[in-house]
């Protein structure tokens, strides 16, 4: 049987979306998709080393570097969701009143309220850092805690310490049953979180299963694939928004 190795980030796998998306593909193409979910950087390295046939991540800059270095070809946008700023329900800093993410971050810094960062160079972490840069905040103070763990563990840590945290909505929803933290700030366009899919370049790694990788790209960006994404919900909320085809082409 044909085998396709998909390297992706933990948050993608943990959301449960892949459990919906992959089985129909496997059936149509008679292929087994092996999902390896690791840190963003590790997923990209696996692709670069030719250990995966295709990568599915959300770290736009790193993705571009990956393609520029010749490791990947034919990147397609698949979907997006959004990042959110979580905090304790009583919101001591009052960021829920603020419009933009940058304002919220500045307020947290001014109040020196505890903030947990993943500090792991993941897509989420990179996005968070870019917002801090925009807010012009010095991150060497003790209220800024660099945890160096995955999203889930970081959310748990923030919950334990009643701190603020920058997270992706999918993981937050997965954890919402266990924690007190709430979404306090969201909706700013800067919090847009696009996911891309990139087959590994067969010119660079001749052994990769490029045909099946392209088939998978085709599938997830097809009407059928995009519909699955559109209809996927977790904890009663839609998690991802397909953006490979225009919304009028989606069927309900």
């Amino acid at each position: 049987q044909d085998r396709l190795i998909l390297a992706t980030t933990t948050s993608t796998e943990n959301s449960g979306l892949l459990d919906e998306l992959i089985p129909p593909f496997e059936e149509i193409f008679e292929v087994r998709v092996d999902v390896v979910s690791v840190g963003t950087g590790q997923a990209i390295s696996l692709g670069a080393n030719g250990d995966a046939d295709i990568i599915f991540v959300h770290a736009r800059e790193a993705e571009d570097e990956f393609i520029e270095a010749g490791y990947g070809v034919n990147r397609r946008d698949v979907m997006y969701n959004d990042f959110v700023i979580l905090g304790p329900p009583n919101d001591p800093v009052g960021i829920s009143e603020l419009e933009s993410a940058v304002e919220a971050f500045s307020a947290i810094a001014n109040a020196e309220a505890e903030f947990i960062s993943r500090g792991d160079d993941s897509g989420t972490n990179k996005k968070e850092l870019s917002i801090w840069v925009e807010a012009g905040v010095d991150l060497t103070e003790s209220w800024y805690i660099e945890g160096g763990q995955g999203m889930g563990a970081s959310i748990t840590m923030a919950d334990e310490r009643e701190a603020y945290i920058f997270a992706d909505r999918g993981t937050f929803l997965a954890y919402s049953g266990e924690i007190d933290l709430e979404v306090l700030n969201s909706g700013d366009p800067v919090l847009f979180n696009p996911y891309g899919i990139i087959p590994v370049n067969p010119a660079y790694h001749s052994h990769v299963n490029y045909p099946m990788a392209m088939a998978f790209v085709g599938f997830v960006t097809s009407q059928a694939g995009q519909n699955i994404i559109n209809n996927f919900s977790s904890y009663g909320e839609q998690l991802f928004y397909p953006d490979a085809i225009s919304s009028e082409n989606l069927v309900d």
Binding site: I5, N14, N49, D51, G152, A153, A174, E178, I179, H205
Partner: protein, 234 residues
């Protein structure tokens, strides 16, 4: 926070419904741990005998190295084996990454020092007269080795159990080299790590409970096999 009652209920449920995925994961765990323990023991026991009995100049150094390797982190073993079996590694063409073989390689390397060191300690503590006696009874080289193993058997079994326990409970290597692929390389521990990541602590604990029950059963069987020969008398 009552993980425990929930965890035990969940574990109980999984067991009585003979959850297919659970069975699969358990089978994978057992298969991998057993294979790597057997391979590692096969290499470690003769190696331990040589280290304990032969006089060679680098012996002291070798012993210190051996003790050092007891602190080998799973990540290091993981990266090491990864660099060998990755597509760009020297064994790349054999496609061992994200397969059972890859995990077994890593786990074998992980416990090789542990089993060797423990067996070495056991052999060190045996009575010196044993060797003269074996020779005088007319044992061939091979039989001398066998007699030595028989005399050290409780220590060796203990070492093997420690090694087995180590790989059964190990996560880093299975994760990195196996990729935690559902239905293929997902083990009890990587499944646990995944559930923990998802924030499903009680489900992860349930898996942990099942793992310990499994391990208990195996140890109980081993113990019974020993019992036949009056374990306590010594």
């Amino acid at each position: 926070m009552n993980y425990y009652s929930e965890a035990f209920r969940e574990a109980f449920n999984l067991i009585i419904t003979l959850d297919r995925e659970l069975l699969n994961v358990v089978a994978t765990s057992l298969r991998l741990s057993t294979s790597s323990t057997i391979i590692a023991s096969t290499i470690a026991v003769p190696m331990a005998v040589i280290i304990a009995r032969k006089d060679f100049s680098a012996k002291k150094f070798f012993n210190v190295i051996l003790n050092t390797l007891l602190s080998l982190p799973t990540v290091v073993v993981g990266i090491f084996v990864y660099s060998l079996i990755s597509r760009r590694g020297i064994l790349g063409e054999y496609q061992l990454l994200f397969s059972s073989t890859g995990i077994i390689m890593g786990q074998t390397i992980l416990i090789l020092p542990l089993i060797t060191a423990l067996v070495r300690n056991t052999i060190f503590s045996l009575d010196e007269k044993l060797y003269k006696t074996a020779k005088s009874l007319g044992a061939t080289k091979k039989q001398q080795f066998k007699l030595l193993i028989m005399e050290a058997r409780y220590g060796i079994i203990g070492a093997v159990i420690a090694g087995f326990g180590r790989v059964l409970g190990e996560i880093g290597i299975s994760m990195m080299l196996g990729g935690n692929i559902r239905g293929v390389t997902r083990t009890m521990t990587t499944a646990m790590a995944l559930e923990t990541n998802k924030g499903r602590f009680s489900f992860a604990l349930a898996l942990g409970i099942i793992l310990l029950i499994l391990s208990f059963t195996i140890n109980f069987l081993v113990y019974f096999l020993q019992e036949g020969e009056h374990y306590e008398q010594r």
